[in-house]
Subunit: 136 residues, 2 copies
């Protein structure tokens, strides 16, 4: 996704496309590693030397409010962000720490036990050892 596409995308979702916002969204979209605020900040501060963490926090909150980014909680003290807003699962490798996405569909058994409840967000995460770490 290019800066111009991102700019249009942000406008479409009611967000004014400031330079910082474009850069932060660009980072999220092009690095599907579910980064933390700290990672995003450290990566972007080279390119935007005056960037502050406050702006990263503000911007990500804005993205979450406008539903173009979702929050991921897998570990304590480690809020992560994902530009993919569709429901999907996350697998975190306990050895290498990498996070993989996986496909998820709501199960009938869940729907049954939550009969009468209105589902707004679904989150799935699994911890274990990834294929790569098992082989090495």
């Amino acid at each position: 996704m290019s800066s111009i596409e991102i700019s249009t995308f942000l406008k479409k979702h009611g967000i004014r496309p400031s330079f910082q916002r474009i850069k932060i969204y660009e980072y999220l979209v092009n690095h599907k590693t579910h980064p933390t605020v700290d990672t995003i900040y450290k990566e972007l501060v080279n390119e935007l030397p005056t960037l502050s963490k406050t702006t990263v926090y503000n911007t990500l909150s804005l993205f979450v409010e406008n539903k173009i980014t979702q929050l991921i909680f897998i570990e304590d003290n480690e809020t992560r962000y994902d530009a993919d807003y569709r429901t999907h699962g996350h697998f975190k490798c306990l050895k290498c720490g990498k996070i993989y996405d996986f496909k998820v569909e709501t199960k009938e058994t869940i729907e049954e036990s939550l009969n009468g409840f209105e589902i707004k967000e679904e989150h799935y995460y699994i911890k274990g050892i990834c294929k790569n770490c098992k082989q090495n």
Copy 2:
């Protein structure tokens, strides 16, 4: 679960049953509300006036290490604990804040997309509006 049963249970899991540990586990088992450290501390400090939050943290970490309690991350800055160590889902109501348990079985579609990965822990949580809040 009575104090004596808890004492035996802790011993069985290699944990020395101190007074504080028994009380904390008792609270967890008898209040299936997935409390935070702060909630547990505030509830027990009446009964155990010298109790410190450090002890609550230490004890819960010990329980997690010994796999008699699981950690639940649903919100940021809000680590919760659950004496039920079996895999099950949590539904958090966005209106009343209450957390409900629901049954979950690993889906084939998840197993397929994680082929070759070793699953150690599975976590499912859903946010929405609970039956009770929808009716009122």
